[in-house]
């Protein structure tokens, strides 16, 4: 909580991305949304097709964080005493940080627990185990009075060894970059490598509504003393999808035996982003306003792919897209109380997110007609022994194809988690949420399997209401963001006919109107750039 307060208080010291040392990089987790298509959920227990990317994890709220004290504090340039060879050229340190969430849970009916949300970003209470391990090296260079940071973040997903007995791990590298700051100009920074770029999130939904990029590239940032920050970046990627790459076997040259694999289509997806943020302090208590503007451009060059008929090729047109959005926030500067309003519009390729490949194209075989409108709200209010976290969003996504289909979706959720702290370390939270989704299809949602469908199908509207009871222990003190947290989680989910119709035959979610989730576990974050603990 203390950290949270600092975050919203010390506006000028706030760092989102690439600000020097204190960068407030987003926590883990690759962008879950917008997914290649609308929301991937509901997911069958055994998806026929593996998700396009490893499901990496959630993260806690963008960590408020006072700008870390510059290592320069200990890196005062020594007076010329003795020879240069005798002077240390830098002062550095290693840091270990982590975000983690682990839980032992069941559906109370003998099956493993399962995410019951139907919207793209639902309650995080039933999210599966996930941990990030961050190793970081910080150096201050006396000669330049500049700072260097190297960050490597490994993320591990469920299942863990003690669950399935498999001596194996789902592992992803979430950060691997080096950053330099204050070189040449105070407040200037640049970085290169593989990195998560994120702004503020809605903790309850595990969701970054405005900006959430996973990128391999480089960025340039500047932070002025006027509480103004700006950052631009250019990155690239090649998601593992035939939209980007097609390989074929060809004979080896020069009359050799055997074959070689040749990339027929091999195109890179370029992404550029820019963000400007202004903090407006109000009063002396750390309150203030936050304004942010954000944009992305995406581009994929044209290419050729081989058709099903060997030796016959088809042109693949270039594609592009863009995002524009903004954020308005207000914070009190005490106990992490804040509210953020986000609005975002994405067009074309960008509407699918950086890891996704469009699956329903326009007639010109581009994603040009796809678009997404998003409005979201998140906040936290704390007073004495009571705290309330809030969240919600509305999202309207249309894929690029000409007609309404299952991939076209309007959806939204409202969620609230009030909590009461009985002591400084013991409390009880109640989480309630209601989510609804409409797909671009007509359906007989209430039809029994053995019945002939009616002649009057209606637009599919699915609804899920969820109620959770969460007694918890927070040894670090009171606060919505106080971590670590140990908790029991019970959640009941109520599906209507439309929600059940989203699941395939023989899926228990198709049959169950009420579902349960019960588990005991813990969540933590410390010392991680992903959570602002970057000192």
């Amino acid at each position: 909580m203390q950290r949270r307060i600092r975050h919203f208080l010390a506006a000028a010291a706030l760092y989102l991305w690439s600000s020097p040392l204190g960068a407030q990089p987003p926590p883990e987790e690759p962008p879950e949304e917008p997914p290649p298509e609308p929301a991937p959920e509901p997911r069958p227990e055994e998806p026929l097709v593996p998700p396009p990317e490893p499901k990496i994890e959630p993260k806690p709220e963008p960590k408020p964080k006072a700008p870390p004290e510059k290592t320069a504090a200990v890196a005062k340039k020594p007076e010329a005493a003795g020879t240069e060879e005798e002077q240390p050229i830098n002062k550095g340190k290693f840091t270990f940080g982590s975000y983690g969430r682990v839980i032992a849970a069941t559906d109370l009916q003998g099956r493993p627990p399962r995410d019951a949300d139907i919207v793209a970003h639902g309650s995080r209470l039933d999210h599966e185990n996930y941990v990030e391990l961050e190793l970081r090296r910080d150096d201050h260079w006396f000669a330049l009075d500049a700072d260097t940071r190297f960050v490597a973040t490994l993320a591990l997903g469920h299942p863990v060894f003690h669950y399935d007995g498999e001596f194996d791990v789902r592992l992803a590298v979430r950060n691997l970059y080096a950053e330099e700051r204050n070189i040449g100009l105070e407040g200037l920074s640049f970085w290169a490598g593989s990195r998560m770029l994120r702004g503020d999130d809605i903790y309850l939904l595990d969701f970054w509504p405005l900006d959430n990029l996973n990128t391999l590239g480089a960025g340039l940032g500047y932070e002025a003393k006027t509480h103004t920050k700006a950052h631009i970046h250019v990155g690239l990627g090649q998601p593992n999808n035939p939209f980007y790459k097609q390989e074929a076997e060809r004979p080896l040259p020069l009359n050799q035996f055997g074959t070689a694999t040749v990339a027929i289509l091999d195109r890179i997806r370029w992404i550029g982003s820019a963000r400007v943020e202004q903090i407006i302090p109000i009063g002396e208590e750390g309150a203030g306003l936050k304004l942010a503007g954000y944009g992305e451009v995406h581009q994929v060059p044209s290419g050729q792919r081989e058709t099903a008929q060997a030796g016959v090729y088809q042109d693949v047109p270039k594609d592009d897209g863009w995002v524009v959005g903004g954020q308005f926030g207000a914070f009190l500067g005490a106990r992490d109380t804040h509210v953020n309003l986000f609005a975002r519009y994405a067009r074309g390729l960008a509407a699918y997110g950086e890891f996704a490949a469009p699956t329903a194209l326009s007639l010109d075989r581009t994603a040009s007609d796809a678009h997404e409108i998003l409005v979201a709200l998140g906040g936290n209010f704390e007073l004495d022994r009571v705290a309330v976290m809030l969240g919600g969003y509305f999202r309207s996504f249309r894929n690029a194809s000409t007609d309404l289909d299952f991939g076209d979706v309007d959806e939204g959720i409202v969620i609230a988690r009030p909590a009461v702290f009985f002591t400084d370390w013991l409390g009880l939270a109640i989480e309630g949420s209601f989510q609804a989704q409409q797909r671009g299809v007509l359906a007989d949602a209430g039809q029994e399997e053995e019945e002939t469908p009616s002649a009057n199908p209606e637009p599919l509207v699915a609804r899920v209401a969820r109620l959770g009871v969460v007694p918890f222990v927070t040894p670090a003190g009171r606060g919505s963001y106080s971590r670590p947290i140990f908790w029991f989680i019970y959640v009941a989910s109520f599906r209507d006919d439309g929600a059940r119709a989203l699941y395939p035959v023989n899926d228990v979610f198709r049959a169950r109107e009420i579902d349960h989730y019960f588990g005991v576990g813990a969540e933590w974050w410390f010392g991680s750039t992903s959570y602002g603990d970057d000192e």
Binding site: T307, A308, Q309, V312, T359, A360, L361, S362, L363, R365, I373, F394, S396, N399, S401, T402, D403, L404, D405, G407, D408, D410, E411, G412, I413, V414, F434, Q435, A436, Q437, Q438, G440, V441, L442, E449, E450, T452, P453, S454, A455, N456, P457, E458, P459, V461, R463, A465, D496
Partner: protein, 605 residues
Amino acid sequence: VRRHALFLSLLLLGCMDFDGLDEEIVLETHVADWRDQVIYQVMIDRFADGDLANNYLVDVSAPARWHGGDWAGLEARLDYLANLGVTALWISPVYRNVETDADVDGYHGYWPQDFTAANPHFGDVKGLRRLVRAAHDRDMLILIDVVTNHIGQLFFYDVNLNGHADEQVRGSGEQSEVFHINEHDPDFDPRGIQSETSLGESGPAPIVFKHDPATNHMPPEPPVLQFAEAYNRRGRTLDFEQPDQLLHGDFPGGLKDLDTTQCFVKDAMVESYARWIELTDADGFRIDTIKHVEREFWRYFTQKVRQRLAAKGKERFFMFGESFDGRDELVGAYTHNDLPSTEQLERENMCVQDGRAITGDQLDGMFEFPQYYQVFRDVFQYGLSTDRIQQLWTRRATRYGTTPTELGTGIPPIETLVNFMDNHDVPRFLFPSTLEGTPDFEGHHLALLFLLTEQGIPCIYYGTEQRFDGGNDPANREDMWLTGYAEDAPTFTWIQKLTGVRKAHSALRRGQQTVVWATSRTGDEEDAGIFAFERVSDDDYALVVLNTHRGHASSPVFQGVPMVIAQPEGTVLVDALAGGTYTVGAGGALSITLEPLTGALLVPQ
């Protein structure tokens, strides 16, 4: 609570624009007289790709694979078809099919798996609704192709009782006979397919439905079709001349034959297909494989569909059938209104639950396969004598009957036969001549003149207007988009002219038909190859004269006897196609000479 949930839903959701397609469909009658129509047969998978989102497993390089056409594509090309002058579209079956079987795809639509679900390759229910509505907005009608004879290859006969499908070869060929067992498609057995072991037969072989979602080899829908009793289970038809095999055998390719004498099967078909009309407001059915199904089924199916739709406001619902056979006595049996024996009728009425007894009504019309063989092939392609046209037409009243169906089109079947020169099951008209290196475009146009002026409802197979010339299936199922939908193509403009004249002259649509010249001569005679017929309505007249001879000009005159028509002397007729005028002589005689493979369409000046 429910009210609050709805309110929250409204708050959370936007306004997904279903363009009124989420409203209950109100059935209406969109046709006044089916004789006014010009049908255009569309193989949906090959006509136009209007939505790339449904291009699943598409491979345009292989004729027997999915190619990506869909309802949205057809909708986008309705103006092209309206400009051609067609007024009704016969579209591929709309239900969900087996995806692929033995490396051939179900793109054609004749491998049903789920009679209740839309074929996702073509779109969804609202896409089909929109197509129908867009067609109606252009005064065009939609006919949906339906199959009631069989389902796709959805089960196998477990002959050796081992629980999975086998293909086996037994015997050594030396001291024992070699024979092949294919449990997917075993040879016809009038007793029903028998299971057997090394000790001999052991009773009827159980059928086992497959469960392969990837190829959609899944148990059929609606669920009542998952009963073994829904099928005849006698194996593959080997001899279509054997009635038992014709009616009860599986269609070649392992398409399992439904027992269409079962009441619950009849009801399942009525329920499934009437529902598609209730979902879409389409205007008629083209029905597949008629001769492989008992006539009792057609009586029940057609009557109950008509009654159900009429009760909801859809009248003059048109049902025509396909019997792939050149024998008009057989093909006509499915429109002829005659009652079966009393015993048979009693048995059939046992299926009736609504109190409306079965009558002799069957289909409203038939696909004129006999004419395809005896006229379009023999006369227009092979150059045989034109008197066979007259012979065929003379028999029509007897073969097809003259009694309109109750609640049907209101028109005698002989006037609503669906005429065609080619379709998706036979080589295109231009195929043989193109194969020989000299495409017969003149003969093609002459045949089109005949098709669009004779009595009945003309049906044009897609691509005819772009001179497609493919051979047998699947070569005759070309991709239409390769033509660019050119409206200045010579055959397009020819058909456009013919449909225009047809539309302008009620005689060509509704008039009675009389042959005024036919000949058995095909040599050097002066009338060799001539065929002429009149169409006469209350207030209109048309005379069609054709020279089918390929070698010389001919006239409807022989040994000084001229053609006599039903117009008074002095009447001036104008050729609506070429523009010349002709004056009727004494006694109604008309003199006209036509170059080889040309025709005249004469109407009052």
